[in-house]
């Protein structure tokens, strides 16, 4: 399966929410990174056939997005915000959405228990949705998205409001499913995607800043990440001159990590191996400076 996106544009009136996006997405986990309001949700809604693009072309193995009858059976979608009917039990919810997906009852009988076991909700199958925790709801969300055994799974900000343990479990779950299908996951948290996705696209203000591997994204910051230890009273000056990635207080000193085009003069700088987050921040820094990316 291959998704080809060419010159995608989405406007609401005069406001372009997505502008000239061209991408190719293949099998495996694909991350979509960007700040809040970058256009990630709009992009995912378009891929899920919930929104029409204003311009551009999207094909799924050559099938145009507009052919919803053929596209929808291929897609599983977990939106960022959903809450499900509170009076329905976990199993009822699955049956209801399975019926909406035209899944025959015999297949439902086989698939629903299997999916609920995979997401660790089988024991809670009779529990009403209103009594589920946030993490359980998310897991139910992923189970419902997999009901039609989709070739493309689109998951929008799946770990919002989840605790670290639930987040880890959730990404492991997605990883299991991604071996032979496309899983597109959006997030504004780099660490979430770094561990799970081999490829990533970075969106900002509706523009595609980067599309490629995670390693290459990290490479964009190579030679620009420094770690220094400075007295606390110099911190304000350093903050003014450099792009701070992190800072950690140690008694009278502060250990900071910065992005810089040149070797900083203060604090015995040590050049560091860049992480994906450093690469992402470098993209944003270049954007703020108005440099071409």
């Amino acid at each position: 399966m291959r998704i080809e996106i060419t010159a995608l544009k989405k406007c609401y009136g005069d406001n372009a929410v997505l502008n000239d996006i061209s991408l190719t997405i293949g099998n495996g986990m694909y991350g979509l990174l960007g700040r809040n309001g970058a256009g990630k949700t709009t992009f995912m809604r378009i891929l899920s056939t919930l929104l029409k693009p204003s311009e551009g072309k999207i094909t799924f193995d050559g099938i145009p997005l507009e052919d919803t009858k053929r596209i929808r059976p291929l897609i599983g979608y977990l939106p960022q915000e959903f809450s499900l009917y509170p009076d329905m039990s976990v199993r009822e919810t699955m049956r209801y959405l399975a019926a909406m997906s035209k899944i025959p009852v015999e297949i439902q009988r086989e698939r629903i228990p299997k999916l609920l076991q995979q997401v660790n909700l089988w024991e809670s199958r009779k529990r009403k949705v209103r009594k589920l925790s946030g993490g359980m709801k998310r897991r139910l969300g992923i189970a419902q998205a997999l009901l039609n055994n989709p070739e493309i799974l689109i998951v929008d900000e799946p770990t919002a409001h989840l605790d670290p343990e639930e987040r880890l479990r959730f990404y492991n779950l997605l990883d299991e499913f991604s071996s032979d299908r496309i899983v597109i996951v959006s997030s504004h948290i780099v660490a979430d995607l770094e561990a799970a996705c081999a490829n990533v696209a970075v969106l900002d203000a509706g523009r595609l800043l980067y599309a490629g591997t995670m390693d290459k994204l990290a490479e964009t910051a190579r030679g620009k990440v420094y770690e220094l230890r400075i007295p606390k009273n110099e911190l304000a000056a350093v903050k003014r001159d450099y792009y701070i990635l992190s800072s950690q207080g140690h008694l009278s000193d502060t250990k900071i990590r910065i992005l810089a085009d040149h070797v900083p003069a203060a604090g015995c700088p040590a050049l560091c191996v860049p992480t994906v987050e450093d690469g992402y921040m470098e993209l944003l820094r270049l954007l703020e400076k108005g440099e071409k990316i």
Partner: protein, 454 residues
């Protein structure tokens, strides 16, 4: 599809709006229909009862003329009723087609008392006491005779328990008792005004009470002209229609349909609106929209589910009274058609339910908010026939509901059967058009043609 249908039914059964609908339906049936059935079964010997079978084969005449007797009966009965209402300070009126009661201020009560003085020649004290003197009642028949209800037995057992047995009806023709009774029918007063003055007084009383009071000319005509309302003695034609054409249950089925007509004109809209808005309330749209099931199937399944859930209690509620009617008819050796209720409900009620709900369906899918309340309210206010047609008569091709608040009047309805069939077909077709529009809008939303809520 069957599973989806059943699950939609389950969702409806769990909604508050559905139980409010059932409650309102239940109240309307108890108040308007079951009481009438019980009353008719209790008064089978009363010449005004549809069940009445005259042993001598003599029934009231079929006439539309306003005879002296009718005028007199109207004046007497209306005055008695005004006295009763005055004593309890509780006046019936029909502001929205259904009967309501109103309490008047002291000043208005004083005005009513003046009118009663003028009508009866009695003073205030006598008016309060006049009704207590009445021992017998009669129903005047526009043919010379009258059915007289003889006084019942009253007494006290040795153990101190008081008993009162009802008297029996007796047909009396040119009898001295009748002439005596006509001279002083209330047992305590005589009408002191001309019929024209009576009408003027009733008009003033009507203004004091409010819109469509019992004393309006419309209502007085309905009740006291020889017509299809319940309080007039049954004519031979009505008797034949009831037993031979309607086969008893037809008349009750019509009455049942009429008694719930104002409920089904409005509340089903709220049930379907509630069902559809659950998707928005629980953010289910984004989970349902990308599913493979077609928009037509989703909307039609949901619509079918609501229609079934709305119709289910309508089909169940008359069963109790139907059993009582069947049992009574069995005892007197008359076979009835027990399927008439279902036929009337589907032909009469269903098209209205379809249209009311399809409009709400369309508006709710289009707006994704409670805007459907507006058309539902407007329909309820403006699509009801005027009160003078509650016993039937709104037989236009575009009338949304048909009223027939009487157990009689089979013939009048049958005369208009063709237009009624056309009406029901038109209403159903318009309903299906709205369902079609709803599918188009829903499909456009699913494909992003119309923007989703944020």
């Amino acid at each position: 599809m069957k599973r989806l249908f059943l699950m939609e039914c389950g969702k409806i059964a769990r909604s508050i709006s559905y139980w409010l609908y059932i409650g309102a339906l239940f109240a309307a049936v108890i108040q308007n229909y079951e009481r009438t059935v019980e009353s008719e079964l209790r008064r089978t010997d009363n010449p005004a009862s549809v069940f009445y079978i005259a042993e001598n084969g003599v029934y009231a005449d079929d006439t539309d003329q306003l005879s002296e007797d009718t005028m007199h009966t109207m004046m007497m009965e209306a005055t008695k009723r005004l006295m009763d209402n005055y004593r309890s300070n509780s006046y019936e009126y029909y502001p929205f087609g259904y009967v309501k009661r109103k309490t008047l201020s002291e000043k208005e009560q004083a005005a009513i008392l003046l009118y009663l003085n003028e009508l009866t020649g009695l003073d205030g004290q006598a008016i309060i006491g006049a009704d207590e003197n009445r021992d017998s009642e009669e129903i005047q028949i526009s043919g010379g005779g009258a059915f007289v209800l003889n006084p019942g037995k009253k007494g006290t057992f040795e153990n101190g328990q008081f008993i009162a047995e009802p008297g029996e009806w007796e047909y009396v023709e040119n009898d001295s008792r009748l002439s005596q009774s006509l001279e002083s029918p209330g047992g305590g007063f005589e009408i002191q005004v001309t019929f024209e003055r009576f009408k003027e007084i009733m008009d003033c009383v009507n203004h004091l009470i409010g819109r469509n009071s019992y004393f309006s000319w419309t209502m007085l005509s309905l009740y006291y002209y020889p017509n299809d309302m319940q309080d007039t003695p049954i004519t031979e034609q009505q008797h034949r229609e009831f037993y031979e054409k309607d086969r008893v249950t037809g008349a009750f089925a019509r009455y049942f349909c009429d008694s719930i007509s104002l409920i089904i004109l409005c509340l089903p809209a709220f049930v379907i609106m509630d069902l559809l808005l659950k998707d928005k309330r629980y953010k289910m749209n984004t989970l349902i929209y990308p599913r493979t099931e077609s928009s037509a199937r989703i909307i039609i399944t949901r619509f079918e589910a609501v229609v079934c859930m709305i119709m289910l209690p309508i089909l169940i509620l008359p069963i109790k009274s139907l059993l009582a009617i069947v049992s009574y008819c069995h005892n007197i050796g008359i076979r009835v058609n027990i399927f008439t209720f279902a036929a009337y409900i589907f032909a009469w009620i269903l098209p209205t339910v379809l249209l009311v709900m399809s409009i709400a369906l369309f508006v709710t899918i289009l707006t994704e908010n409670h805007s459907a309340v507006l058309p539902a309210g407007l329909i309820w206010l403006f699509c009801r026939p005027s009160v003078d047609k509650i016993a039937g008569g709104n037989y236009g091709p575009f009338d949304l509901i048909i009223r027939h608040n009487t157990l009689k009047g089979y013939g009048r309805m049958m005369e208009h059967m063709q237009i009624l069939i056309l009406n029901r077909i038109l209403v159903s077709v318009i309903a299906l058009l709205f369902v079609g529009f709803a599918i188009i809008v829903y499909d456009a939303k699913r494909k992003g043609g119309i923007r989703l809520e944020s």
